[in-house]
């Protein structure tokens, strides 16, 4: 039995995240180096999907909305409600920004679930790039609207005087940790989910070809994989929603200072 199990991992389950180069142009002569890698390709695909969806729902400006434009309008409306409840009136200026983030992160999560595909959002460069850019933008916005009063953000209302220095130190650390935790949350969920799927599918595959008795036993991990893929789709939606929700609450901190 043990010999059968330890041939389960032919190759490393983390191999699915490796970046492979498709073609490579330019060299020392040209100076400019251009190489299309699989993460680059999938980012382009996701962009085309997002633009295509918006174009489809444009419905060449007919008054009667087509099904696609209803989808987009309801998505737009739900994000508008979320912004209204988080930031209030002034936040509506950031609606297109948050809508694009939500759609982009959602599609890059979902595209990873297509078999034989690659998840752009399972790379730290995608997640942390997004979150650091957002945090720098929010801080600049905060300073622009509130100049020096922005530091009031680090002192929550009603703290006794003696506690202020400790609290300011902790608040600044947690404010700076937001840059990492926002992106790391998205990426870690995607990596963890896909590695788990990879391990269980290899395990089931070994069980299926392992012989008649094992074929019967392999129904259980197979059912688990179906359940977990459903969970993975739910997690893709939840992560995209939470990413947008937290960006909105950080914007709220910058605009309304608590």
């Amino acid at each position: 039995m043990t010999t059968f199990i330890n041939t389960v991992f032919i190759n490393n389950p983390l191999e699915q995240f490796e970046i492979k180069e498709f073609f490579y142009m330019g060299g020392p002569l040209l100076g400019a180096k251009f190489s299309l890698t699989n993460i680059g390709l999938y980012l382009i695909i996701v962009t085309i999907l997002v633009l295509g969806m918006s174009y489809l729902s444009l419905n060449n400006n007919k008054v009667v909305p087509s099904r696609w434009s209803i989808v987009q309008e309801s998505l737009f409306g739900s994000i508008l409600n979320m912004i209204k409840s988080t930031i209030g009136g002034k936040g509506e200026a950031y609606l297109p920004f948050l809508y694009t983030i939500f759609l982009y992160v959602l599609l890059s999560n979902l595209i990873g679930l297509v078999p034989y595909s690659f998840t752009p959002s399972s790379h730290f460069v995608f997640g942390i790039g997004f979150s650091v850019a957002i945090l720098i933008g929010v801080t600049i916005l905060g300073f622009q609207t509130h100049a020096l009063k922005f530091f009031g953000l680090f002192v929550p209302a009603g703290t006794p005087l003696g506690l202020v220095p400790v609290l300011v130190m902790i608040e600044t650390i947690s404010y700076l940790a937001r840059a990492l935790s926002l992106g790391l949350r998205l990426t870690a969920n995607m990596i963890g989910g896909h590695v788990l799927l990879k391990i269980f599918s290899t395990f089931t595959w070994k069980a299926v070809i392992g012989g008649p008795i094992l074929l019967l036993i392999s129904i259980i991990p197979f059912a688990f994989i179906i359940a977990f893929t459903g969970l993975e789709i739910a997690i893709a939606f939840i992560q995209a929603y939470v990413f947008t929700m937290l960006t909105a609450s950080y914007l709220n901190d910058a605009i309304n200072l608590h």
């Binding site: 199990i5 330890n6 389960v8 991992f9 490393n12 389950p13 963890g192 590695v195 788990l196 391990i199 269980f200 395990f203 359940a227 977990f228 969970l231």
Partner: protein, 73 residues
């Protein structure tokens, strides 16, 4: 030497399941309490509980997955 480290590592990783155990117990305790308080929406409560159970189970399986990863590669 390496094989012994793999076994110890897998053993340590499985401790992570303790949390999922406590979590699932708490979710079902809440189901029992809330069904007593408001039996009319039993179905809705049960669906939330199953969702909570599935998500807590997922965390436990992350730890189990890590244990398998350590044991076999």
């Amino acid at each position: 030497m390496l094989q012994s480290a793999k076994i110890i590592g897998a053993g340590l990783a499985t401790i992570g399941l303790a949390g999922a155990g406590v979590g699932i117990g708490t979710v079902f305790a809440a189901l029992v309490n809330s069904t007593a308080r408001n039996p009319s929406i039993k179905a809705q409560l049960f669906s939330y509980t199953i969702l909570g159970f599935a998500l807590t189970e997922a965390i436990g399986l992350f730890a189990l997955m890590m244990a398998f990863l350590l044991l076999y590669s």
